[in-house]
Every structure is written in C-alpha cells, then in structure tokens.
C-alpha cells in the first residue's frame, strides 16, 4: 500500500495534477476577498460613469467568505472533476492498470491509494486556499471568526471528497474519460437539485456548501448533511473498490 501511495503522490506531482489544482485554488482564494472588497467600488465607479445611482452596502468579511465558498464549490469542483476523471479509466485504457494488478498488489489498494492521495491533494490545496483567503480577508476586513471559517472549510473539504469519490467511481466503471466526466457532472448537478427537495434535501452532500457558509457566519451546524456526505463517501469508495475487483482487461 505504501508503495502505491508513494507512486500516486509522485504521479500527481509529475503529471501536473497537483500543481494545476493548487494554482486554481490559490487563484480563487486570493480573488474571492479581492472581489468582495473592490467589487462595490468597481460597480459604483461604473454606475457614476453611466450616471446611475446604485446603493451598495459597505462590504464585510461575510461577503469575502460567501465569494470564497461559491468559487470553491463551483469552479474548483468543476476543475476537480476534470482532473480526476481519468484517474482509473486512463490507466485501464493505456494498460498501466494491467501492469500493476498482474503483480502481487491488492486491487483494493490500487483504488484506495488513488482515493487517499486524491484526498490528500485536495486537502493540501484547500488548506493553502483557506490560509490565503483568511489572510486576505483579515487584511481587507479586519478581524473575523477564523476558527469558524476553518471548520466551514472542513465541510467544504468533505464535499470535495464526495465529488472526488464519485468521480473515481465513474472513472472505475466508465469505458472512457469523457464518459466518466459526463456521469460525474450529471451526478454533481443531480445532487445540487436533490438538495433543494424538502425532506431528503438535508441529507444530500451539496447541502454542505450552504452549511459551510452558515457555520462560518453564525456557527450553526446541521448534522444531517454531514452524515449524508459520510454515507455517500463510503458508498462510492466501496462501489469503486468492488467494481475494480470485478474488472477483467479486454
């Protein structure tokens, strides 16, 4: 397992996946507080030029956090699906999966090493993003609840892990990278829609995004979305491992 973990980590670094993810997260971590701070000024200067009067309230740290949560949960999730859609199916297509599984390696470990390293990569990227966003929010807006924002980020991380585990699952069962991406996007959209339904919606992992925002601002937490996310996480990891165990190279 250790050998596979090291190999996966090196692969993330050398194929550029890690750096792309880091760059995207860093970009939005800096952009979000900047946008929150200067967007009202930009809008008001444009409106003055157009001789339109728009009343924009003074931005606060909550705008910065809201902007950050929105960017990470939308654009960064999109990038994550693109980065991880080929994580298994590409190895199946190119033959490197056969290269590994014909050796004394557990197929479970083959998948689990990918899951763990993908989680670590997203953890690293989100941690850096969180620290940068916090620093810029502090710089632009002064004091804000750093620890609550940290826990809010933990909820976002859990959401990203659910997205990664679904993408890995589709990458395990799909025949091509494009198919894996399409199914992952569809499930992502479906989760977003299901989260709007009364009753079951509170258990859908997509609720973690609004929960992250709510917790960062007011410290309120609902355990349903958390338990739902853990269930989906475990389910998709299990399904990935199970389907890869059954895989026979054509």
């Amino acid at each position: 397992m250790k050998t596979l973990l090291i190999k996966e980590w090196k692969e993330q670094l050398r194929t550029g996946r890690f750096w792309i993810m880091m760059a995207v997260f860093v970009f939005f971590a800096i952009l979000s507080p900047l946008t929150a701070r200067y967007m009202p000024e930009i809008i008001s200067s444009i409106s003055q030029q157009q001789q339109i009067e728009i009343q924009i309230p003074e931005p606060t740290w909550t705008d910065s956090v809201a902007q950050y949560v929105k960017n990470i949960s939308q654009i960064c999730t999109f990038i994550i699906i693109l980065l991880f859609m080929g994580i298994v199916v590409k190895e199946k297509e190119t033959g490197t999966a056969v290269f590994v599984v014909v050796k004394p390696v557990s197929r479970n470990y083959f998948i689990l090493s990918k899951v763990i390293v993908s989680f670590l990569v997203s953890l690293t990227a989100l941690s850096v993003a969180f620290l940068l966003a916090s620093a810029y929010t502090l710089l632009f807006f002064g004091e804000f609840p750093f620890l609550r924002f940290g826990f809010g980020n933990a909820l976002i991380l859990l959401y990203l892990w659910v997205i990664i585990s679904t993408t890995i699952f589709f990458s395990t069962v799909a025949r091509t990278q494009v198919m894996a991406a399409i199914f992952s996007f569809l499930l992502w959209l479906a989760m977003g829609l299901l989260a709007q339904i009364d009753g079951i919606g509170v258990f859908i992992p997509a609720k973690l995004i609004s929960l992250s925002m709510t917790y960062s601002v007011s410290g309120e937490l609902s355990w349903q979305a958390l338990s739902g996310a853990l269930f989906f996480l475990a389910l998709f990891i299990f399904l990935s491992v199970f389907s890869f165990r059954k895989w026979e190279p054509s």
Binding site: T3, E11, G95, F99, V102, K103, P104, V105, S106, E248
Partner: protein, 311 residues
C-alpha cells in the same frame, strides 16, 4: 517438471458464438523457452490472460509454477512476470525508478531492490538510459524495459504476449537476443505469430487454432516430424528449366516441382528425400545449373501445414 499445466481450459466471451478457448490442454516444461503459436484470434492472448489471473476461465483447470490459477491469487502473482502485447508503463517514471517501484511491490529490501534493478538494466542493455524518462524511449527500449520489469520479481514463469510484433528489425533482434539469454533465469512462455522468432529462440513449441491445441513438441521434433526440406535449383536459361521439368517427370524420381523462369523448387513426396539421386540425375543429363541447394524446413512450413489442415 512442469511450469504450466492446463486441462480442458475453456473461455467464451459474452455475445460471441465461438469460444475463444475450447478445451485447451498444455504442459510447458520448466526452464524452457516456450513458443505459443497460432493465427490471429486463435486464443493466445486469452490463454495468457487466464494464466496470469487477469481473466477467469469458464471451465477447466490451470496451474502455473505449481500454483492453481485463481483470479486474484497473490501467491500466483509473486511467481510470474508478464509483458502485455503493447507494453505500457508509467511514462513519467525513469527506467531505474520503474524497476525500483516494481521491486518495492514485490517487497524487496532497498539493497536487494537496487542490486536487482542494476542487474536487469545491464542484462537488458539499458544501463545508459537508467535515468532517462520512459516517455523518451524507443519501441525496442520499451520492450526490453518491459521484459526487465517483468523479471524484477524473480518470476518462475515469464509470460510475453507478442513481444516483437510492433518492433522494427533492429528492435526485434535486440529483444530476441534478450529472450534467448533468459533460459537459465526462468520458464519463458512467449506467444507470437512471427514464426521465425520462435524458431530462433524457442526450445518447445505449441500451435493452437480456434482455441484448441493442434500440436506441442520440442521445436526440432516438430521440424523433423511435420515438414521436410526443399531442393532449390537455379538454371542458366529458361529452356534449361523447362528441360529439367520435362526430363524429371519422365524419370522414376518423385517430387512436387514449382518453377519460375530460371529456378525450380522441388518438394519431396514424404519426409525422406534422396538429394544425391537428384544430383546424379542432373549430372547425367548435363543441365546447366548455377545453384543447387538443400533448404531445411522451417517452422512456417510446419505451421502452414498443420493450421491449414485443421481449418
């Protein structure tokens, strides 16, 4: 001792009317270089995938290195090496790094892993490229690295699926020399449809067609049993060629003649052939001959004879 044994191995793919393997029975002697021959679609790759536990058979029994082949068996996978038809390795790795990765998978200590990686880089002639990225390797180098990685775990049986099919003549020679040097290392099970390759390196041969075994024997026995040589004679003029054919047909000698403008190929009716009689006949009739050569039978002759008979 037997390195590989299969009994009535059968595999039928979903949606296919014909089975890919149809009761295949094989016995591969230990430390042999075993050529596994068959036309395209005969079931060679399917056999290798079953024997390496990458695929399961519908019925039958198989064992490799004395271990029953069961899908997912780690015991089996510790004792085999495998190189697929189009070897794909992690192109972002360097050659030595890849061998060390494989060594780690097999649980070698760092010292043993490094020693074995260096040994195999030398054996495969890749010492100079040890720290080069695999993405920059030529086809021949990838194939040799592929065999080296398959040997990394000190396998008892090495499976090579069409190891030379995608290579140019130089790459093929490099790889065949490498395979020939492995006879003391392990049993090599090599599938191919390039008959000259097998003839060059294999000590034992099996020919399959439509998923079942046609024949299996030592290479030299096959050549002796199933094919005779040919006599090739070149003449100075086309008239001389025609005169030879005419006179030969009128003589008491037997044989099948195929002719071109200035040459003929004489195939004996059975496996025995008295070339001295022909030589004497040619001398007596004073044919103007520029070349008189006995050409030994090749595996290609055996293959064509046996496979076409089966079909």
């Amino acid at each position: 001792m037997t390195a590989i044994k299969t009994e009535q191995l059968t595999k039928r793919y979903r949606g296919e009317s014909q089975p890919a393997l149809n009761g295949l029975c094989l016995e591969v002697p230990e430390n042999s270089i075993f050529g596994f021959l068959g036309p395209n679609g005969a079931g060679k790759t399917t056999t290798i995938k079953i024997l390496t536990a990458l695929m399961s058979a519908n019925s039958g029994y198989a064992e490799v290195a004395g271990i029953p082949v069961i899908s997912g068996s780690p015991d089996l996978r510790k004792n085999i090496g495998y190189l697929s038809q189009e070897p794909r390795m992690y192109s972002w790795m360097k050659a030595r790094e890849l061998l060390c990765f494989v060594g780690d998978i097999f649980g070698f200590s760092p010292e043993e892993r490094n020693r074995r990686a260096d040994f195999l880089l030398e054996l495969s002639g890749l010492q100079h490229a040890a720290n080069k990225r695999i993405s920059a390797f030529s086809g021949g180098m990838i194939q040799r690295l592929g065999i080296a990685q398959a040997l990394m775990g000190k396998p008892k049986v090495l499976f090579l699926d069409e190891p030379t099919s995608s290579l140019d003549p130089i790459g093929r020679k490099e790889v065949l020399d490498f395979i020939a040097s492995l006879s003391n290392e392990c049993t090599v099970f090599m599938s191919t449809h390039i008959l000259s390759d097998v003839e060059r390196v294999a000590t034992d041969v099996a020919i399959i067609s439509h998923g079942s075994l046609i024949v299996q024997d030592k290479t030299e026995n096959l050549l002796r049993k199933y094919a005779s040589g040919k006599l090739e004679i070149d003449f100075t003029t086309a008239d001389e060629t025609e005169r030879f054919i005419r006179e030969f047909n009128q003589s008491r000698l037997n044989g099948k003649i195929e002719s071109e403008m200035l040459s003929i190929t004489l195939t004996p009716p059975g496996t025995a052939f008295d070339r001295h009689e022909i030589l004497q006949f040619a001398a007596e009739k004073k044919f103007e001959i520029t070349r008189f050569e006995w050409v030994n039978a090749t595996l290609e002759d055996v293959f064509i004879q046996l496979v076409s008979k089966k079909e």
